[in-house]
């Protein structure tokens, strides 16, 4: 049962999906397209920061994509199959990667049942292509849109200003009425103020406050008071900074919300770094608001440049578990566009070359990682997660079991658990982690046993 145009049309859930797929047929959208046996796979740069991984079985017409779409097959899977039936020769023969193997292990074998479309619901790839032909913009309509957007932005600014002043009062109340009481009721109190902030369109600030109780409860009891002071203090800094410069993109991102990928790519002020990047690892967190955040941490292997980048995506938890976009340890050359900030970190991939087996070693780390963290804290004092590169050292445990990283020079940093057993018996040549103000969450390390991931199985 080979793959044909009519088979792809039959699989499409609706004409809209085919139309969306037609917009993804540019080869530049697909830095990776490969095949082996009856399998084809590729990586498509969609609207998220992380690329989507797509695999399809050309014999049984099964497919899988890491995008959060509820349509099946999604536009990415349809586009991959469409590209294949149009010109299969552009798919390189390759070894089957591990993530394709993983999909094969989880999938339910067998072809999807043929879709029964209602009369009049005929789907056509040709029609989909026609729709995607670009139509010239209407200057008057564009001007109207812009005016409406400016008006909305003005209203949002006023609403958010009032909300940040409200938040300052709330912060004051939590401190003056006693932090033990705040910690006891943190969940309810934070949820209430977060709801008010959502109403006032300060969505990013609301999410941050909504997640604060979880961060505090994650600390040992004796550290929660200091943790609460640090968290509340950062919020106070942020509200004051934003009111002083509401158009600052860095601050707006922390208070209101992020720019889109397209905004960043179109922004001439967004710093761009073309380099060799290593995927350190991925951190996936399910938030209280029902969203899952997927953060892929990258490290620049070139010296004297922007050291770290994070590709950050959010998708609904109801979309199910999403496979990682990269394999930890994977290296690729790419141009990243960073969201403009005092200490740029969040980025999107502007242009990506194929993965490489480059053997570049990890860059040299400063002798005192805490000094590096203090500098980052001075540049962006409201930031919660700060990446850091650690020099040679060991992971040690106190008699209480609390874990620490200790440099060969004696600098110590508390480390978040769990830690792979091997880490306690390995000499850490270099390590990368994320400091949250209380603990260092290690992501990956170079050791005398090779690369060591701090997520299970990496």
């Amino acid at each position: 049962m080979g793959l044909t145009r009519s088979a792809v049309e039959a699989m499409a859930p609706d004409q809209g999906a085919l139309t969306a797929a037609a917009a993804l047929l540019k080869p530049s959208k697909w830095p990776v397209r490969a095949r082996a046996g009856g399998l084809i796979w590729g990586e498509c740069q969609g609207s998220g920061a992380n690329p989507y991984r797509v695999v399809a079985d050309t014999d049984e017409h099964g497919s899988k994509c890491t995008c959060p779409s509820r349509k099946f097959p999604c536009k990415h899977a349809l586009a991959l199959m469409w590209l294949f039936v149009d010109d299969g020769a552009t798919f390189q023969d390759a070894e089957i990667p591990a993530w394709v193997n993983d999909w094969m292990g989880r999938r339910r074998k067998g072809a999807a049942p043929p879709r029964t479309d209602a009369p009049g619901d005929a789907k056509s790839m040709s029609a989909a292509r026609d729709v995607t032909a670009e139509t010239p913009p209407d200057p008057k309509a564009e001007a109207r849109k812009q005016a409406a957007a400016d008006k909305r932005a003005q209203e949002t600014r006023q609403s958010v200003r009032a909300a940040t002043e409200d938040l300052d009062g709330w912060l004051d109340d939590q401190l003056r009425t006693g932090l033990p009481g705040f910690l006891k009721e943190a969940s309810e109190r934070c949820r209430r103020i977060a709801a008010r902030l959502v109403d006032a369109k300060a969505g990013a600030l609301a999410s941050r406050i909504d997640e604060m109780p979880a961060r505090l409860l994650d600390l040992p009891g004796e550290e929660r008071i200091d943790g609460a002071i640090a968290e509340l203090g950062k919020l106070a800094l942020l509200t004051r900074a934003w009111r002083a410069a509401p158009d600052d993109p860095d601050l707006r991102r922390e208070v209101v919300g992020s720019e889109t990928r397209e905004d960043v790519l179109a922004d001439p002020g967004a710093p761009r770094v073309h380099s060799l990047w290593e995927v350190l690892g991925e951190r996936v967190l399910t938030r209280r608001d029902g969203l899952v955040s997927q953060a892929t941490w990258l490290m620049n292997l070139a010296p004297d440049q922007q050291r770290f980048a994070v590709l950050l995506d959010f998708f609904p938890a109801s979309a199910g578990r999403r496979s990682g976009a990269f394999v930890p340890g994977e290296r690729f050359k790419a141009e990243l566009a960073f969201y403009p900030a005092r200490a740029p970190l969040r980025a999107v991939i502007a242009r990506r070359d194929e993965s490489t087996d480059a053997l570049d070693v990890w860059p040299v780390a400063g002798a005192d990682p805490l000094a590096d963290l203090a500098e980052q804290a001075l540049a962006s004092p409201w930031r919660i997660d700060m990446p850091v590169l650690l020099p040679k050292g060991r992971i040690c445990a106190e008699t209480s079991g609390r874990a620490w990283w200790r440099s060969d020079d004696g600098v110590v940093v508390p480390v978040r658990k769990p830690i792979p057993t091997l880490a306690y018996g390995a000499h850490i040549e270099r390590a990368a982690g994320v400091w949250d103000g209380a603990r260092l969450a290690l992501i990956a390390a170079q050791t005398n046993w090779g690369r060591l991931g701090f997520d299970a199985g990496t």
């Binding site: 082996a36 046996g37 009856g38 399998l39 079985d57 591990a98 193997n101 993983d102 292990g105 074998k109 067998g110 300052d168 009062g169 912060l171 004051d172 401190l175 003056r176 009425t177 006693g178 932090l179 033990p180 009481g181 008071i225 200091d226 002071i229 640090a230 968290e231 509340l232 203090g233 950062k234 919020l235 106070a236 800094l237 004051r240 805490l370 203090a374 804290a377 004092p381 992971i395 040690c396 445990a397 106190e398 209480s400 609390r402 620490w404 200790r406 110590v412 940093v413 508390p414 057993t421 091997l422 306690y424 018996g425 390995a426 000499h427 005398n448 046993w449 090779g450 060591l452 199985g457």
Partner: protein, 474 residues
Amino acid sequence: MQELEASLARVRSAWMAGRSALDHCPAEWRDAVAGQHGDAGLAALTGHATTVLFRTAPTTVLEPRPLLPALALPVMAEALRPRFRRILSAKGGPSIERHLVDLIAARGRSVHPADWLPSPTDDWVPDLYVPWLDWVRSETPAIDGHGALAVETYDRWSWAERRAELARLRLADPAAALAIIAAKAPSEPAERRLRLLEILETNLSESDAEFLEGLAKDRSERVQAVTRAYLARLGRSSDGADLATELADMVALGKVGLIKRRTRFVIKSLKTSAQNARRRELFTLVSVSALARALGVSEQQLVEAPPDGPADGIEAFAQMMAATGSDAALRALLNGMLADDSTPVSHLRALTSRLSATERQALLPQIMARDAEGLETTLAIAGRELGAMPIAPLLASPTYTALSRLLDQLNVDDPHRASNNTALGAALNRIALLLDAPGATDLVARIGIWGVSPADPKLDLLHLNAALTTETKS
């Protein structure tokens, strides 16, 4: 700095007590946050100062653990590690952790410690991993210069090390191993006494009898049982004649062969399940030599022909022979049962447990040719010597016929497809553990004819086997 620290402590105390902290902060800070919501502003300064100026310190001295020692064999190739991890974490079938670790060791490689480390209770691991076992148990690692294992140096070795070394010594110099075990076993706890005693099974001889007789009244019943079995093998059975007579009444001796008349041990059909249960119990309590005496024959006469009777009785007899039979009687019974097609292959499992690895390896093609029960028995008999069988015996075996049937059903839409798929995966894993690397490669190609994708995870272990190169063990 100390003044600031004291000031921050007062600020903290005020917020803990539920009052404004503005009166407790440095004066210049108070000026900076003066106005509405002063405490919030003060929290900004306090939090930031704590983050930048102060560092957390451990409450005790940090002493790193010793480095994980390197092993005698090289770690498997980096490219194979993801597949290894996937196999190890696969769900839905029986765990193959032990077999997987053995297969890799048999191919002269070790597992990467980031992918797998033994747990402290994993006494089953190959000797190769003894240094890691010591490390995860936080036992004092052996240091160079602790000398050869002897009674005097025994306590300088870790438990896992000394056990592995004693097993090696028992092969090379049985008397030396016995001397150490005899001197040190009494001071070990019961579980370890048992493990030490098991080492004596290799090259068991008359010179071990005196020590074993000394253990006949050991505090541990398990130690006593093993001791009795070993003594029985040496012809020094001490079991009661009355039990042997009771068992003899439940069996019989017949004759087979037209020209050469041979004795056949017959297990009678009994009327009640209680009687059957009692007989199974007696098979574990009576030694072969005592039973032979009760029947008025020699051990060799008991096994002149394959035994006859109900399957559970024959299995119990085979287990009795494995535990207490002499070497000669055990081999005679094994050969007879191997030649007898009507004997279920699973009955051979107990009998082969006392054979050397080389002997068991030589038997595998014959066992596989008879094994129609999913290769469980073949795998058990192979022991640690995995990944060495050529494909030819497999292709002629009932297992391959069953495998072909499962593969035929793979493309048929039937309600049992999911369970067939699981069964196919388990069967392929067992085959993959037995085949040599060319055999594994050959089988992957053959399975491709049925349309199974090379990326199918059911083939993972075959792929891993094919890619593991054989190295001479040091």
